[in-house]
Symmetry: C2
Subunit: 236 residues, 2 copies
C-alpha cells in the first residue's frame, strides 16, 4: 500500500476523512508506524492525490486532514482484451493491470478458457473491485479501471469489438506469426492476449477480420501474468 | 508445461528415455492425452530440444525415442541482481526469470529485505531447481539459470559485483532519479532491482560507486514480480 485510497464514504468534509476499516487502520498503524501530525500519501478514488495529515489516532479510527491537489498519473491509452485467466491468476492480473495504468479491461471467453473459470466468486463485482483497489494502492493511482465480462467470444468480437478498437492500432499476441511486436509506441492501442495455450486459429482469424494484427514476442511462451507486464513494458 | 524437460538420468541410451516420475507422467497422460506414436516437444536439460516419440506407454512409465537437434533459444545477455523477495513471490520470480531467458541471477540482501526471508526452505538448492525447471518448461528452454545467494550487501557490492558487471552497462531501477530506463538495447546488461520499498539511498550510492546508473520506470510503483517482466519486456 504505497497510497492510502479514500472513497467518498470516508469523507467527513471536503477536506477531512475518517478511516475505520481494519485493513487500512492496521496498515497505517503497523507499516507506517504513524503518529498524530504525520503525513501520509493519500488519494481519493477517481480523484486527486496528495497528503493526508493525521489529526486523530484512536483504537478504531484514524482522522485525516486532506490536501489533495495532484492529479493521478496518466492512464495508458490502451484497451486490453484478455482471455479469462484461471481464478488465482485473475486476482493477480487485476492487481497488475491496475498498478500499470490500464483503465479498460475486457475479460473474454475463448476456446481454451475452461468453463469453470466463469463460475469463480473472484468475478463478482465486489471482488474485482477489491483487487483493483490493491493494484491502485500499489501503483499510486486513483482512477479505477473499468472491467467488462464477455462470456461469448464470437458475438463479442463481431458485434462489440469493432467499436471498442475504433481509432486504435489493434494487436493480438500470437506465437505463430512472422511479425514482431512493436515497442515504445505513441498511439492509442488495443491489445488482445489469449489464454494459456493461446487463441485457436479460428479465433485469431476472427480477430484479424475485426482489424487485429498478430504479433509475436519471440520463441518463449509466457504465462499470461508474465506476458501482460512484459508487453506493457515493451509497448509503452 | 510446454516442453517436457529430460535430465541425464532419464536417458536409457543417447536417443531414448524413460519417464517415471508422477508429475511428468500425469502431465503427458492428462494434458497431452498421449498415445503410442505421438510426438511431444522435448528438451534435454542444458542441451538440445526437439521431438520425443512415444514408444511405450505404461501405468508407471513412458518411453520416448528422441530426436533432439534444435538448440535452445538464445539467452538474455543479462546479469540480474535482485533483492531477495518474500518467499511466495520468490517462487514465482524464479519461474518467471527462467521462462524469460535470464541465466545469471544474484539474490542479495538489502536493508528492506526482512531477515526471515533468508530462512525460507524455498531457498534450498533443490527447491530453487524445481522452480527453475517449471519456468524452463513454460518458456520452452533447456538451459538452467545459475542462481547465487549473497546474504551481505556491502561485501557483495564492493568485492564481487565489480567483476560480475565488467563489460556490461549496469542499471539500477530507482524511482527517485530523472533518468528514464532505456529500451530495446543491444548490449550486455546488468540490472539491479530492489526490494518492496526500494533500495535505501546508501545502497543506491554504493551501487552507483560500483558503476550502476539509476533509472526510473515512471511514476507507478510496481511489485517486484511485475517490475521484472516489465523491465525485461522494455529492455530486450
Amino acid at each position: 500500500m504505497n497510497l492510502i485510497l479514500l472513497s467518498p464514504e470516508d469523507l467527513t468534509s471536503p477536506s477531512s476523512a475518517v478511516i475505520t476499516d481494519l485493513r487500512r487502520l492496521t496498515h497505517i498503524k503497523n507499516i507506517h508506524g504513524a503518529a498524530v501530525g504525520d503525513t501520509l500519501k493519500v488519494g481519493m478514488l477517481n480523484g486527486n492525490m496528495g497528503k493526508g495529515t493525521i489529526t486523530g489516532l484512536g483504537e478504531s479510527e484514524i482522522s485525516l486532514a486532506l490536501d489533495l491537489t495532484e492529479p493521478p498519473p496518466a492512464a495508458l491509452d490502451l484497451t486490453l482484451v484478455l482471455a479469462l485467466p484461471r481464478p488465482k491468476m485473475l486476482r493477480r492480473i487485476l492487481q497488475t493491470i491496475a498498478t500499470l495504468g490500464v483503465k479498460k479491461l475486457h475479460l473474454i471467453n475463448s476456446y481454451r478458457v475452461e468453463k469453470s473459470y466463469w463460475q469463480t466468486p473472484f468475478l463478482e463485482a465486489a471482488n474485482i473491485h477489491e483487487q483493483l483497489l490493491l493494484g491502485l494502492e500499489q501503483g499510486c493511482d486513483t482512477r479505477l479501471p473499468q472491467v467488462h465480462l464477455h462470456k461469448r467470444f464470437k458475438p463479442f468480437v463481431e458485434d462489440e469489438l469493432p467499436a471498442l478498437i475504433a481509432g486504435t492500432r489493434a494487436l493480438v499476441a500470437h506465437p505463430y506469426t512472422p511479425n514482431v511486436c512493436p515497442s515504445q509506441i505513441d498511439y492509442a492501442l488495443s491489445l488482445a492476449v489469449g489464454p494459456e495455450g493461446g487463441f485457436i486459429e479460428y479465433e485469431i482469424a476472427l480477430l484479424q477480420k475485426c482489424g487485429f494484427e498478430a504479433v509475436h514476442l519471440g520463441e518463449r511462451i509466457m504465462r499470461v501474468e508474465t506476458a501482460v507486464p512484459y508487453l506493457l513494458g515493451r509497448l509503452f
